[in-house]
């Protein structure tokens, strides 16, 4: 349903060029949940934004993308406009910041309904109440008149989710949907996401820095580091038999669910790997070649792939 090929995102300032994402390719099928994991700065959020046409205007996007059988043009804003909120729903990280503080949550959820489905405000309100009940925002009839600051973080994220799925999108992109929430609330939100995918046979792109979250939900997992995909495989493969040293490090940090991810930032001090492997500077197993040459993507059995010189 969604296929991305050779996605590249570049930011160029006066005289320096920064590649946030390089040569990323993947695809998602209906009913499938694809997890993208990686630390902050790995390019996973940029990828999500690119897939919705929401990148800041100074970002330059290359590559090709097709969605529901149509080729998408990254520059064509009106094409995205029609899809966002109707065919593609998006949930962001910080629900408190993502809700307009001056409008009632009901109004904000109703927006896509009025916009894409052509409902009258009255009909949209009824639909919003239904959505709120379905997502456990109770009492829904009153809640729609509340302002964001009157809701808890979990409720706010449910509201965001309600807005994202209001028009029953085929693709749901959830960018760190639970990061800002309590652990107990996390599970509820993840369950709601899963229910939606299950009930509507939609595709879900779940983006998180937390392998634990990914492990709960995803079918397939992409591990991103430094703007590239370093490893890809089924959730079972990644969790049980990680190949790439970076994935192993991510896994190693997993048991402390409640603590922020702490990867050694500069393990190999003084190393620069310009043009080499993106992880070389921190890799415990690096060799000379890692510093000089970008590792090629190796396709392995059962659809796995990885990019590492030492394997």
């Amino acid at each position: 349903m969604l296929a991305v090929k050779d996605l590249e995102i570049t930011f160029s300032e006066k005289n320096s060029i920064f590649k946030a994402v390089r040569k990323v390719s993947f695809s998602v099928q209906a009913g499938e949940i694809l997890g993208i994991v990686g630390e902050s700065g790995s390019g996973k959020s940029m990828t999500a934004l690119a897939l919705t046409g929401l990148l800041p205007p100074e970002a330059k996007v290359c590559g090709s993308m097709s969605f529901a059988g149509k080729t998408m043009h990254f520059e064509d804003n009106s094409q995205w406009q029609g899809l966002r909120g109707s065919k593609i729903g998006i949930v962001f990280q910080d629900p408190a910041a993502c809700l307009n503080p001056l409008k009632t949550v009901g109004k904000q959820v109703a927006e896509p309904l009025i916009l894409h489905k052509g409902l009258t405000p009255k009909e949209a309100e009824v639909e919003t109440i239904r959505l709120f009940s379905a997502l456990g925002i109770e009492p829904a009839v009153q809640r729609i008149h509340h302002y964001p600051h009157q809701l808890s973080g979990g409720q706010q994220q449910r509201v965001m989710l309600a807005a994202a799925i209001a028009c029953k999108p085929m693709l749901l992109i959830a960018d760190e949907p639970t990061t800002a929430l309590d652990v107990t609330v996390q599970a509820q939100i993840l369950r709601l996401l899963h229910e939606y995918v299950h009930n509507h046979s939609a595709a879900l792109l779940l983006i998180s820095h937390d392998l634990g979250v990914i492990a709960q939900l995803a079918d397939e997992v992409l591990v991103m580091c430094g703007g590239t995909i370093v490893e890809k495989g089924s959730v079972y493969q990644i969790m049980q038999k990680p190949l790439h040293p970076y994935t192993k490090l991510l896994l190693a940090s997993l048991p402390r669910l409640d603590a922020p991810l702490k990867l050694p930032l500069v393990a190999n001090e003084g190393l620069t790997a310009e043009g080499g492997c993106v992880f070389a500077a921190r890799c415990p197993h690096y060799r000379a070649i890692c510093l000089e040459k970008e590792p090629p993507t190796k396709l392995l059995a059962e659809g796995r792939q990885t990019a590492c010189h030492i394997l």
């Binding site: 993502c98 307009n100 001056l102 927006e111 896509p112 302002y147």
Partner: protein
């Protein structure tokens, strides 16, 4: 809520009282009196003493202040020492022409600033944006007096399209006549207003544009226009309302420079001449009136904030 209002009101009264004492003292501590304020006045020293006596200006300061205060509390703002007429009457005569000019300039300036400010905020760092930024700096620093004279030379002399003096042609005073008299002073005032407002509008909108909920709104499929109208502008309103509210007292005290250059018969000029003439009752009244306006403007701004932002409406 009521407690807050009462507290606010008391604060305002205290401020007004402080303003009145401060004005009174500074006015009376400065050397000289109204008849000495103008070197050209022809005076008889004995008659001047009688003049002071008849107006109780020979009394000790505290007595003068108390009598002024008691009269003021009864709604009597006294007589102008210069014009020998009730101060209120003099202000009332001049206020409408001032409001006509200042409110129009304010509305035009704010409207232009909103249109242009929003446009350049969207096109941040484009050449239009850069030009507007340069202009908003220059516009504030260009002396209005100079601009006024240039306009008069251009449009009242070289190409006599508009009148440069006063509010109406003597003997005329029809609406179109007044309007064409307004054009040049308005240009000068809007030139400044706009420069001042546009940078505030621009930065207010820019601040909001970078917030997460704007992206979230776009993610729901709203067009740029809808995002701007439904989400960005309401959130930019608070700083803009603040700026607008701060301008409110100025609307009522006139545009001294424009009134001076274009001989506009407004209250700004009146305040200047009264101050130069040491016309105590007028200055006292004007200061109180300005202080009251500032208080009212602040109060209005607070009410507007409540109206705009639900977070402030929380019952304490």
């Amino acid at each position: 809520m009521i407690f807050q209002l009462v507290r606010r009101f008391t604060q305002t009264l205290l401020v007004l009282f402080g303003v009145s004492v401060a004005t009174f003292l500074t006015m009376h501590w400065a050397p000289g009196h109204p008849l000495q304020a103008n070197p050209e006045l022809r005076l008889d020293p004995t008659a001047v003493e009688r003049w002071l006596q008849l107006r109780n200006l020979d009394q000790p300061l505290p007595a003068q202040y108390l009598s002024w205060l008691s009269r003021m509390l009864r709604g009597d703002f006294g007589q102008s020492l210069l014009y020998n007429r009730p101060v209120i009457e003099l202000i009332r005569e001049r206020l409408p022409s001032t409001l006509l000019l200042t409110v129009t300039a304010f509305l035009i300036g704010l409207f232009l600033a909103l249109v242009v400010g929003i446009y350049v905020a969207k096109k941040q760092n484009s050449w239009v944006d850069r030009m507007v930024q340069v202009y908003s700096l220059a516009g504030i620093s260009v002396p209005g007096y100079w601009l006024g004279i240039v306009l008069i030379i251009c449009f009242a002399y070289r190409f006599p399209l508009f009148s440069a003096v006063g509010m109406r042609t003597p003997g005329d005073g029809s609406l179109p006549d007044i309007l064409q008299h307004m054009v040049l002073p308005l240009i000068v005032m809007v030139f400044h207003n706009f420069a001042y407002y546009v940078r505030h509008v621009r930065s207010a909108v820019l601040n909001v544009l970078n917030l997460d909920f704007v992206r979230a709104a776009k993610a729901r499929g709203l067009t740029d226009k809808q995002v701007m109208l439904w989400h960005v502008l309401p959130n930019s309103a608070i700083p803009i309302v603040t700026i607008a509210a701060l301008s409110l007292p100025v609307l009522f005290t006139g545009a001294m420079m424009a009134e001076q250059v274009f001989a506009w018969p407004g209250i700004g000029r009146f305040i200047v001449t009264s101050t130069m003439a040491r016309d105590y009752p007028v200055i006292m009244t004007v200061n109180l009136y300005t202080a009251a306006l500032v208080a009212i403007a602040n109060f209005l701004a607070d009410v507007l904030y409540l109206f705009i932002d639900p977070r402030l409406r929380v019952k304490a």
